[in-house]
Amino acid sequence: MAASTTAPTASTASSSPMAFFLQGETGRNTRGLLRLIILCTIAAAAVASRLFSVIRFESIIHEFDPWFNFRATKYLVNHGFYAFWDWFDDRTWHPLGRVTGGTLYPGLMVTSGSIYHLLRFLTLPVDIRNICVLLAPACSGLTAFASYLFTSEMSDSPSAGLLAAIFMGIAPGYISRSVAGSYDNEAIAIFLLVFTFYLWIKAVKVGSIMWGALTALFYGYMVSAWGGYVFITNLLPLHAFVLICMGRFSPRLYVSYTTWYALGTLASMQIPFVGFLPIRSSDHMAALGVFGLTQLVGAAEYLRSQLPSKQFQTVIRSAVLLIFVVAFGGLVLLTVSGVVAPWSGRFYSLWDTGYAKIHIPIIASVSEHQPTAWPAFFFDLNMLIWLFPAGVYMCFRKLKDEQVFIVIYAVLASYFAGVMVRLMLTLTPVVCVAAAMALSQILDTFLVASAPTENDADTKQANGTPAGANGSIADKLSSALPDTLRSTKSPLVGIYSYLSKSLITGAITSYLLLFVLHCTWVTSNAYSSPSVVLASRLPDGSQHIIDDYREAYYWLRQNTEPTAKVMSWWDYGYQIGGMADRPTLVDNNTWNNTHIATVGKAMSSREEVSYPIMKQHEVDYVLVVFGGLLGYSGDDINKFLWMVRIAEGIWPDEVKERDFFTQRGEYRVDDQATPTMRNSLMYKMSYYNYNSLFPAGQAMDRVRGSKLPADGPQLSTVEEAFTSENWIIRIYKVKDFDNLGRNHQDATAFEKGNKRKKTSAKRRGARVLRVD
């Protein structure tokens, strides 16, 4: 972290006129060298602050989605690129399967795959897991560099870029998605986002095809890496559109925009998952419309140079407007007639935050799609959030083409970040850039400005003499008024004394130090947990690792058939696929709502209803997450209502959310719980045998904080197979059909008397059946 604090001070020192060797040609070299060293230390700081989780736990893939990416990367490395491209995965979404190669963004996997092969080529055999774990921190170093370039295009100040780089390097809003082990698409996507923006600004400034083509190339890379590329797809046209509306159309804009669009669209269509979307879906139509508009405006401008006439411009404008309206009407018509796909559901939920909750519960159920809470802004961006408006104001003061971009970006990203938690990620770069601009303005003002002494006096004299010569009234006035008033006529604006300078600089430095402290604290405490491995503190302060997830997944891996199908809620699908290597019914790639609803129905119905469903889907094991013993709040009972809601969306007659609430509308698990709740498979599997841990009648659920009924639930169609150390994961085996043709309730009732003998007999029977 020391490197981060030196960054602003060193950069400002390099611009201060004190050191004599910092002038002329040598000075430029020294400054360039210093800047390079500072950037390298910033990148090192950015990487270092993301390694908490590796040091504290181990080099492990985090959370949910990264497990799929990791699995896909391993597949890519083992089977080669073409097999990966055509990958049909029959181990997920049983029995449907998933066309994985055509439904993922391959950029991340291909990146780490090529790094892997490059290192192998250099005879450095690095495990693919370590590459995946450390890819995000490495990219964050590049992001810091990219934001340096981006900001340097925005501001003339030498320190703005460096400040932006360090802000970007350690801002928690970005760290939240790029700690070591968070092997997700965002890891490289943010770097690509910032770098694409930099190239775009460069293209608009220079007006060169090369920069435009590079923008398109990196845009294509971004498309291959993250679904959030739609943000660029709409932001760049918006920038161009605003510039045209401001009357700032220039050949430079034409060159950069049309080059970007023509090449970028083709590049994006190379990705199978995107395919024809750029010409079919409404999300991409703005870019196409602005492309057409640019052509028209370009043509009109050319014609105007041929036909110089004053009315011509207004005529052209109205014609352009007319064509725009016609094109828009045509688009609407095409959308209505179904040629162009309408906006996607996630898009609607951006404008109407209640939309997803009503229409698509599966989107609303994801916690990172929830609206952002206000403290989150301060938590993730700290002091940057109050420097941000100042930076945007700076952009207004010097409103060139590139500043317009920042303003648009700031407005859009602030809105989106307010709507969806995870879009905080797209806000962070612009906040860092704007804040760096504001801060560098302050630093430049207070560090560089020297007092204008003699020059100022001269102008005063010059002002004074003509006033005296002009006339007697003015003379009288000036003689009547004391000197103090004359000084107010041309006041010395600015603060030039060393005391005030050092005061401001000291305050800024302490703010920066506080910022570093905050970032480190947030990173260490909030964003460095792998969530696969949990950490807790024992009473004596030592750390205790809770490793139930891996324990359970390895149990699955070692004790079940490789083809045993595991049913769980979709959150754990990727982890089961990645860690246990077992086929799953649903996973985090929520492409089939009905299939998820089927699982939701199986979980939320009575055993007699669930059993046929599970049998039809050839489920062998059911996995539930239960945090009642440990007080782990992210468990399935807390997620249960989403299962009910999603199932209700498909079978409104069979699953009703209301039945899971008591008469008074409470969601309870104790003896007040509704019969529907207590008979649901999920409830039974969560609390089965749980009261045997406690003295009679003392069973407590520590998450819900409620006392459980004295006699626990009875299971007949599934049997407990495994429960992890802290009961977080419970795995049940689905019983086979009874070989006497009874239903399972009768069978269990019959077996109550001589249990042992019967079960062993039944098991043997089942095995024989399976061999056949």
Binding site: L263, G298, A299
Partner: protein
């Protein structure tokens, strides 16, 4: 010669065909605006001021274009016109015969559009009137950029064509 009339500004065929009609209609329907015209119309042929139909304006623009445009630029313009014709033919084929190999149609169509755009950019960058806009870009640099962009474009097209 109706096809040639479109040629003065191939970059603007839809617009150039539409714009003069507007100019004429406003000029004829709103006589208050006509006094402004003689001042501005000095560089263009005087027939524009008196022109009451597209024919005359078209010929005036055409003459102006033939006189003032450099030979190299005309070459570029011819190429752009050719691209537009090819794109139009492809689109017509798509409408008439269906878009069955959609990849092939798309890559062919976007190859022409992309090449058109790149050529238009090259034309803009080498236009002496735009010298102020492109200070850093020499003509050689502009051509090198053009080749770079075209190579990327055709790489993607060939990759996409199936």
């Amino acid at each position: 010669m109706p096809p040639k009339k479109a040629q003065p500004s191939p970059s603007a065929i839809p617009a150039s065909a539409a714009k003069p009609t507007h100019a004429i209609s406003t000029a004829s329907s709103q006589p208050t605006k006509t006094p402004n015209k003689p001042v501005a119309a000095t560089t263009a042929t005087p027939s524009i001021r008196n022109a009451q139909d597209i024919q005359q304006i078209g010929t005036a623009v055409w003459n102006n274009y033939v006189e003032k445009t450099a030979q190299r630029t005309k070459l570029l313009d011819a190429f752009m016109a050719f691209l537009i014709v090819v794109a139009g033919l492809q689109f017509l084929y798509c409408l008439l015969a269906g878009n069955y190999p959609f990849n092939a149609f798309l890559s062919g169509f976007s190859a022409t559009i992309g090449q058109f755009v790149l050529t238009a950019s090259l034309r803009m960058q080498t236009n002496p009137e735009n010298q102020a806009e492109f200070e850093t870009i020499s003509h050689e640099r502009a051509f090198a950029d053009f080749v770079f962009g075209s190579m990327i474009l055709h790489f993607f097209c060939v990759n996409f064509i199936n």
